[in-house]
Symmetry: C2
C-alpha cells in the first residue's frame, strides 16, 4: 500500500486539483512538476555557489562549453548555440558580457560578425579553478540516493529526454529525417 508520509509539493497540487476539479488529468504533475522543482532548487543552489566564486551560471556555461570542447578552445556562435541550448540572441549577449570581462576573445570578420569565440588564459584559469569544486559540491547534493537509485534515475531521465527531444526539438530540425527528400 501507499507508505504513510506527508505529501510533497507535487502531490499537494495533485490532491488539490482532484478535490477542486475531479477528473482533472493530474498524473503528469508527478513527473513534470517534480522535475521543475528539483531543477529550481539545483539552479538556485548553483547560482549561490557561483556568486561566491564571482561568476554567473550563464558565463560558466559558456566557458565550460569552450573548455570541454578541447584545444584550441574555440567554437563558432552556431556551435555554442547548439551546445548551450539557448537562442542565438542569448549567445550574442553572453559572448559580449564575457568578452567585456576578458574571459573570451571574439574573432570578427570584416563586417563585425563574430566568426569564432575563443577562451582567454583568464577564462581558462577561471574554469580550471572552479569546475571540480562545483561538480563535487553537486555530487554531494545527490548522494542521499543510493548508487542504484542514481543510476536508475539517470536512465529514466534519459528515456524521458529521448522522447521529449523527438517531440519537441526545434521544428526545423525535427523534420530532417536522414535521406527523406519529400520536403
Amino acid at each position: 500500500m501507499t507508505p504513510p508520509r506527508n505529501p510533497d509539493g507535487a502531490e499537494r497540487i495533485q490532491l488539490a486539483w482532484t478535490r477542486e476539479r475531479p477528473g482533472t488529468p493530474v498524473e503528469s504533475i508527478g513527473v513534470i512538476t517534480r522535475i521543475w522543482h528539483a531543477g529550481k532548487l539545483l539552479a538556485d543552489d548553483r547560482r549561490r555557489t557561483l556568486a561566491r566564486l564571482g561568476i554567473d551560471a550563464a558565463t560558466l556555461d559558456l566557458l565550460s562549453t569552450l573548455r570541454r570542447h578541447g584545444a584550441p578552445y574555440r567554437m563558432t556562435p552556431a556551435e555554442l548555440k547548439e551546445a548551450c541550448l539557448v537562442s542565438a540572441g542569448a549567445i550574442s549577449q553572453r559572448v559580449a558580457r564575457a568578452e567585456t570581462s576578458g574571459l573570451v576573445r571574439a574573432h570578427r570578420s570584416s563586417g563585425g560578425r563574430t566568426s569564432a569565440v575563443e577562451l582567454t588564459a583568464e577564462g581558462h584559469a577561471l574554469i580550471e579553478g572552479s569546475v571540480d569544486e562545483l561538480l563535487r559540491h553537486e555530487q554531494a547534493l545527490v548522494e542521499h540516493l543510493t548508487p542504484a537509485q542514481r543510476e536508475q534515475l539517470a536512465e529514466l531521465l534519459r528515456a524521458l529526454l529521448d522522447g521529449l527531444v523527438a517531440r519537441l526539438a526545434d521544428p526545423r530540425t525535427a523534420e530532417r529525417p536522414p535521406s527523406s527528400g519529400a520536403g
Copy 2:
C-alpha cells in the same frame, strides 16, 4: 552490457570532461544536467502552448495556485510565495501584472500593502478554460514512458527532492521542526 546507442547531451558532457580532465567528478551530470534539459524542454513547450492561449507561465502559476486553493480563491502574498516557490518581489510583480489584466483583485490595507489576492471571475474563467487542455497536452509528452516507468521516475524524483529540500531549502525554514500544518 551497455546497449549500443548514441550519447545524449549529458553523456557527451561527461565524456568531454573525462577526455579533457580525467578525474573530474562527472557522475552528478547524469542526473542534474538531464533534469535541467528536460525541464527546459518542458518549460519551453509550456510557454509556447500558453502563448497560443494568450497567457504566460508566471500568470498561469499564480491563477492556478489561487484556483486550486479553493473558494473563495483568496490567498495572502506570503502564502503565494510559499506555494509558487519564487521570491517575495516576484509575487508583488506577478500580482501587479495580473491585476492590470483584470485576472485578480488585490485587497489593500490602509498603507497600500496587499493583504490578500483574490481571483476575479475573469481569472477564474481563464483557468477553467485552460488547465485541462494544458495538463492533457503535457500528459501526452510523457506517455512514451510506460506507466511503470512513469511511476518509478516520479518516485525517484520525489526521493531526490526530499533530500534536496532537507539540504537546500531556505535556511530559516530549514530548522523548523515538524509541528503544525498537517491540514
